[in-house]
Structure formats: structure tokens, C-alpha cells
């Protein structure tokens, strides 16, 4: 394969504190050189003038649905959507059918992913079947290749079991990713509990249902010393508890989704099931708190919680519709639109949220532009205006509340190990 020379790009690499015009040379799938000016006549040239070149984006929270729900998404279609969204790697949540709670399922997912355009880091279940009762085979799954454990979709509600799992995670150096939801406070709820749920006659999920488990989880992380990562935080109070735990030296990180920093519970007003997700869309005050946290460092990562559902599943009334929205192909544009173009965060911070920190949380290579390392690179245009059409996306599902939105900023190319996984 010919070498590839990426010229004239604005290279943003928070790990190196770099935000400057640079050229990159890619050879044999690896980053061979990074300099102010590289000349290499035998190379293919990619002109990145007016584009941002960053270490590959890693989405910590994706539901690829395979095995089991291939009508909604497959490893193949989900990773294609990831590539189109500028992601070079995704962490695949274990709530498939069967659940990824054994080395066998982990190996199956990795085998499917080997043919896909981007890297897949399987997340193993904490408990068998994510049923919250018995520990899953965490050590065997670690050997097979998981990079984190989670019972996502539900919390590990038994505090003793969570403690045991954290003890394993400490020894195996895995992060435990918890979905914070008090099942009793949240029971039956379909949207945020507030003025809109009352108005619409829909059962609410109070903010406290998320905040109480955040507090508990951080206390257990403190007790065990293990690494805790909190998925899709959505309330001001939840973030407050994370700030306090971080000040207290607890090894806790957290992520926020684009839909939670973009939309409020008012999006449910016409009973549009595309605005139904768990955790639910919260209030304008919560959105403001999430944006603050994304800017000041309380939040570590932007993750999509990409949750595909087939048209048949989602084409029903609000109460019966399943929770979840897709997000891989809109995440970068929403972050640019809502955080960067509003001057809330810099491009360095944006790349930190999409790449540097996710790599650190998963403990994987990447997250920086290191000479000699595999060339996983995300190239995007922060200015390009485009209209998102869910039906034309790479994901097999179309359940997005952003369908038809005109956004500012878009991925232009995604390179995984030096190959174009996606090119505009």
C-alpha cells in the first residue's frame, strides 16, 4: 500500500498539547511522521486544508445489537455508522441476545468485528444475563478481550454484588460502567418526572432515581479503589456527586450523551417516541449543568448510547415504544454545534472528550497521535453545514430525534490503522 500524506490540516492532539498546522505521514498502517511540513512524492495526498485532524474518536457506549437483534443493527451496520460518524472504535454494550456474559459471546463479537471498518471493544456483563444476581465470568471475558464490564440497561442494584464486581475490576484493571437508576424510584416511568410528564399524563422518572445510585456507586468505588465509569449522566445532581467524589480522590469518570446536552424533556411534548430514552431527557437546568461539566472537566467523555430500534418497534405510541435513540452519525456535529460553536469548549477539549479520555478510560491504545502507533485518525470539518436524514444514514435503524436537523460541522474521513473506514 502506498504511504498516505495528510497535508495542511489543523492537528489537534490534547495528549501532546498540540493545536497547530501539521502534516502527517502514514505508512504500513502506522503514523510514520508528524511535522510542520512533510514532502513525500511517492505518497497519496489527502488535503486537509480547513479541516481538523485528530486522534481517532472512541465511543464508550454503543449498542450493536448483534447477536440477537439483527433487525435493528448488526456489528457490520453499526460499525459502518460509527465510521461515518468519525469514530475509529466503539465499546459494544453487552445487552445482546444472548448477553455477552461469557468468553464465547465475547469471541463471537470480536470475530464479527474483525470484518468491520472500525475497532470494537466488547464490554462484558457484570452479572449473568445482566440479571443482577450472580457474577458473570469476568476473568474469562477479560482473557477473551473485553475492555470494561457493565450491566447497562439496568444498574447493578445489589450493593454487595457491585462491591464484589469492583474488587474483580480492580485486580483486572477494568473499569466498571454503571447505568445509574434506582429501579423503585424509576419504576414504570417513561420520561423525566416534571412539569411535562404531569402535563402529558406520562409516568415520570425522577432525577433522584439517577442521583442516588451515583452517590452509592462513588462510595463503593472509594471503598474498593476500583475504577468506576458512570454511563450517560443526565442531571445536575448526578454531576455534583461526581465532582465531590473526584475531589475526594475516587477513581470515577463519567460520560454525557449528545441528546442529553442538546434536548430537554419538552421534546416529548407531541408524544414523539424518538424523544424517549433512558435516562430520559431532563430540564433546561440539567442541560446547562451538563454543558458546564463538559467545559470544566467534571465530565470526561461524550458517548452516544447509540441504541438502534427497528421501525416496527419504534413506530408505536410513546408509552409502548422502547427506550433509546441512535447517535453515532450526529454526535460530532451536535458537539460542534452545541459546545464548540457556542464557545463553551475549545477544539482541544472536544477531542479530549471524544478521544483522549475514552482511550484512557478503556485502557486502550489510541487517543493520541503517537508516531509508531496505529494510524487511527478522525478528520472533520467544523464548519460544513449539512442536513441529517436518518433514513439515509449507515445505521440500520432510524430512531433519531435529530432527523431533518441542519447541523454545523461534519466528519470528513475516518482512518483505522491507516485505511479509510469512511471518506466523505
Amino acid at each position: 500500500m502506498k504511504p498516505l500524506l495528510i497535508k495542511n490540516g489543523r492537528v489537534v492532539d490534547p495528549a501532546a498539547g498540540l493545536d497547530a498546522r501539521r502534516d502527517l505521514l502514514i505508512e504500513d498502517g502506522r503514523l510514520a511522521a508528524l511535522d510542520t511540513r512533510i514532502e513525500r512524492p511517492d505518497a497519496d495526498v489527502f488535503d486537509a486544508a480547513n479541516l481538523v485532524v485528530a486522534p481517532g474518536f472512541i465511543d464508550l457506549h454503543v449498542h450493536l445489537r448483534e447477536p440477537g437483534k439483527e433487525a435493528a443493527e448488526t456489528v457490520s451496520s453499526g460499525t459502518a455508522a460509527a465510521a461515518a460518524g468519525g469514530f475509529t472504535a466503539v465499546a459494544a454494550m453487552p445487552n445482546t441476545q444472548p448477553v455477552n456474559d461469557s468468553a464465547l459471546v465475547t469471541r463471537f463479537i470480536l470475530a464479527q468485528a474483525a470484518r468491520g471498518p472500525v475497532r470494537v471493544y466488547p464490554v462484558g456483563a457484570v452479572t449473568k444475563g445482566t440479571a443482577g444476581e450472580e457474577l458473570a465470568e469476568i476473568e474469562s471475558m477479560r482473557e477473551a478481550g473485553i475492555r470494561a464490564v457493565s450491566d447497562d440497561g439496568r444498574p447493578v442494584w445489589n450493593s454487595r454484588l457491585l462491591r464484589r464486581a469492583l474488587e474483580y475490576c480492580l485486580a483486572l484493571d477494568l473499569p466498571l460502567v454503571d447505568h445509574c437508576e434506582d429501579p423503585h424510584l424509576a419504576a414504570g416511568g417513561v420520561m423525566h418526572e416534571g412539569e411535562w410528564s404531569l402535563r402529558l399524563g406520562l409516568r415520570g422518572i425522577p432525577a433522584l432515581a439517577e442521583e442516588l445510585p451515583v452517590l452509592r456507586d462513588t462510595l463503593l468505588a472509594k471503598l474498593t479503589g476500583a475504577r468506576l465509569h458512570l454511563a450517560h449522566l443526565s442531571t445536575r445532581g448526578a454531576l455534583e456527586f461526581v465532582r465531590r467524589a473526584k475531589q475526594d480522590g475516587v477513581r470515577v469518570t463519567c460520560e454525557v450523551t449528545p441528546h442529553h446536552f442538546t434536548l430537554t424533556d419538552e421534546a416529548c411534548r407531541d408524544f414523539d417516541a424518538r424523544a424517549k430514552m433512558n435516562p430520559p431527557l431532563r430540564t433546561a437546568d440539567d442541560v446547562a449543568a451538563l454543558v458546564e461539566g463538559l467545559a470544566d472537566g467534571a465530565v470526561d467523555a461524550i458517548a452516544t448510547d447509540h441504541a438502534p430500534h427497528s421501525e416496527t418497534e419504534k413506530q408505536t405510541d410513546f408509552e409502548s415504544a422502547p427506550f433509546g435513540v441512535i447517535g453515532l452519525e450526529t454526535a460530532l456535529a451536535l458537539a460542534l454545534e452545541k459546545l464548540y460553536h457556542t464557545q463553551k469548549i475549545s477544539l482541544l477539549r472536544l477531542v479530549e472528550l471524544f478521544s483522549t479520555n475514552p482511550a484512557r478510560i478503556l485502557g486502550v491504545e489510541g487517543g493520541r497521535l503517537a508516531v509508531g502507533a496505529p494510524a487511527d485518525i478522525t478528520i472533520f470539518d467544523p464548519e460544513r453545514r449539512w442536513t441529517y436524514r436518518a433514513a439515509e444514514g449507515a445505521s440500520q435503524s432510524h430512531n433519531s430525534p435529530f432527523d431533518g436537523w441542519t447541523l454545523r460541522g461534519a466528519p470528513v474521513a475516518t482512518l483505522v490503522a491507516g485505511r479509510f473506514a469512511f471518506r466523505q
Partner: protein
């Protein structure tokens, strides 16, 4: 406030709720209903038999059992000369696993002139309205709205009090699970009526006050009743409770049943309303339900008139 100007037609194609209606829409429905009334506060009239909507079809799709609302819609349709098709869907295709959307597409393919929908889930009529051109009349969706009930209640209040504004209306009982309460609050608030709510604390969240500025959540039922012109009782929705929100029906009755002594806190000429079916001795004492203060039978009669008005406005205009 000055009387709103009269409209010729509704601003909405569907009747999904009271919330999207304007005060002018509501005035139009009430004015249209008045000509169909068989009884006002002062006189009784013969039952009208009209040909206005002859040859048109009304399909009633009840995904949740109901006798009163369904029969009221059927009578309204028949008095206007319409044919009715009655589908008790809780017993048919829905249980065979057909999707909601497929069921309604099938119904719409039969080309009715209007579709009356009742469903146990909030928002179903709104979902269906996005997938059909047939005018939809919401006959109660989950805990969201029951617009025809609020409109017939408004007609009843106006028959007895001459106005909707300048009154105090107490709405008592299980507010949280009540679509009737939500529709009534929206309607009365559009006329500036003072609305006082009370009931078991978990069933009357303070957030109700955010629905409209004239809404007050009262800590005690007596406070809500004080100087009220209208007392609306709500049914205890035992079947809607997925969790125990009060100890027992007896405990509820002891503290929230509308007894003569509680009613004494309201104005001497206050009327008592209930959307029915009421639980005698639990939400309302027999003496109160049977007293001349109770306008419950009048509500039932107005129900037919209001539904006739809505059919005229939503189907008649469609040509």
C-alpha cells in the same frame, strides 16, 4: 373578560385534547352544543332527530372498556343520522399481536368520516393522528386528556352558573391519574377560573400549579372547598395504581369522600359534579350524590349534546 368573537369552525382538525384548543374554539363547541341540548338548567326539550350527517360513518375504537362514553358518542352520532361502527378492540386484533399502527390503518381503510379513540396509554390519539387523515376524537387517552368530558362539564357549569370565569372550582381526589382533571384544568384555566385541587398528597403533586397560573394545590380538602362554586369529584382510579398510594378504600373514604359536612365548606349554591361512574360512599356520599346539588344526570345529558356539536364541527365541515 369580554366575550371572545365567534368562530365559524374549529382551529383544529382533530380533537386530541383541550390544551390545543383556544377559548374561541371552546365557545364555538359550547354554542353549537346548546342547540342540541335536551335539558338546560331551566327547561326540557324534545330529543332532536336530525339528518345533518346522514350517510356518514363514525367508527368507535375502544382499546379500553367503557360503556358511558361509548354510548354517549353512539347516541350523538345517531341523532345526527350517522352510522356507527363499534369496535371493542381490547378483545380482538390487539390481543392477537397486531400493532397499533396496523390496526388503525385497517380502520382508516374502511373510510369512516371520524374515528373515536379510547386507549389506556397517554398519547395514542396523537400517534394515530400522525398516520391518518381521518378526524380523530380523543375519548380518553391514558392519564392525559379526556376532552369531551371537560367540554360537557363546561357546558354544565355554564348552564348552572351562567359563566365559566369568575368562579372557584374545586377538583378533588386522584388528580395524578386523572385525564378528566387535566382536561378540566386546561379548559377552566383558559377562562381564568380559579382552580383549587386537593386529595391524598401523592396524588396531587405540587407541579399541577405549573399547568396554569390560576391553579392552586391545597393541603387540605376543606381549604379547596372553601367558597367553591363548583365541586368536581374524581373517581378513585383503583385500576390505574401500580403501587399503593393510599392504605385502603376505607382510609381514602374517611378523609376524601365528599360528605355533606365537607360540602358545607363550599358556597351554599355550589353544584357537585362527577364524571362517573362514581363509587358511592368512597368518592361521594350517597346523600350528596342524590341531593339537588348534584348535577351528575345533567352532565350525562350534556355529554350527548357536546359530542353532537363536535361531530358537526369536525365531520360536517369536512363536506
Amino acid at each position: 373578560m369580554p366575550p371572545p368573537k365567534t368562530l365559524a369552525r374549529l382551529s383544529q382538525r382533530h380533537l386530541l385534547g383541550v390544551e390545543p384548543l383556544s377559548a374561541e374554539d371552546i365557545e364555538l363547541v359550547l354554542a353549537t352544543a346548546q342547540k342540541y341540548q335536551t335539558r338546560t338548567a331551566t327547561e326540557t326539550r324534545p330529543v332532536p332527530r336530525l339528518e345533518l350527517l346522514r350517510g356518514k360513518t363514525l367508527t368507535l375504537a375502544f382499546f379500553e372498556p367503557s360503556t358511558r362514553t361509548r354510548v354517549s358518542f353512539e347516541m350523538a352520532a345517531q341523532r345526527l343520522g350517522m352510522n356507527t361502527v363499534n369496535l371493542a378492540l381490547e378483545a380482538s386484533s390487539v390481543q392477537k399481536g397486531e400493532s397499533l399502527l396496523d390496526t388503525v390503518k385497517t380502520l382508516a381503510a374502511m373510510r369512516p368520516n371520524a374515528l373515536v379513540i379510547r386507549h389506556a396509554a397517554s398519547g395514542v390519539p396523537h400517534f394515530l393522528a400522525r398516520h391518518t387523515d381521518v378526524p380523530i376524537l380523543n375519548a380518553g387517552d391514558g392519564q392525559h386528556e379526556h376532552p369531551t368530558q371537560a367540554l360537557l362539564d363546561a357546558l354544565t357549569i355554564r348552564d348552572h352558573k351562567g359563566t365559566l370565569g369568575g368562579l372557584k372550582v374545586a377538583i378533588l381526589g386522584d388528580l395524578l391519574h386523572s385525564r378528566v382533571a387535566r382536561s378540566n384544568i386546561h379548559l377552566l384555566a383558559k377562562f381564568g377560573t380559579r382552580i383549587a385541587l386537593a386529595g391524598p398528597p401523592p396524588l396531587v403533586p405540587k407541579a399541577f400549579e405549573r399547568l396554569a397560573p390560576s391553579v392552586a394545590v391545597c393541603a387540605r380538602i376543606e381549604e379547596a372547598l372553601a367558597e367553591a362554586d363548583v365541586v368536581m369529584m374524581l373517581r378513585v382510579q383503583l385500576e390505574r395504581q401500580r403501587e399503593p398510594l393510599f392504605a385502603s378504600p376505607a382510609e381514602y373514604a374517611r378523609h376524601y369522600c365528599l360528605t355533606p359536612s365537607r360540602l358545607a365548606h363550599a358556597k351554599p349554591d355550589a353544584i357537585v359534579m362527577h364524571p362517573g361512574p362514581f363509587l358511592r360512599g368512597i368518592d361521594i356520599a350517597g346523600e350528596v350524590a342524590d341531593s339537588p346539588r348534584s348535577v351528575i344526570p345533567h352532565q350525562v345529558e350534556n355529554g350527548v349534546a357536546v359530542r353532537m356539536a363536535l361531530l358537526e364541527l369536525l365531520v360536517g365541515g369536512a363536506g
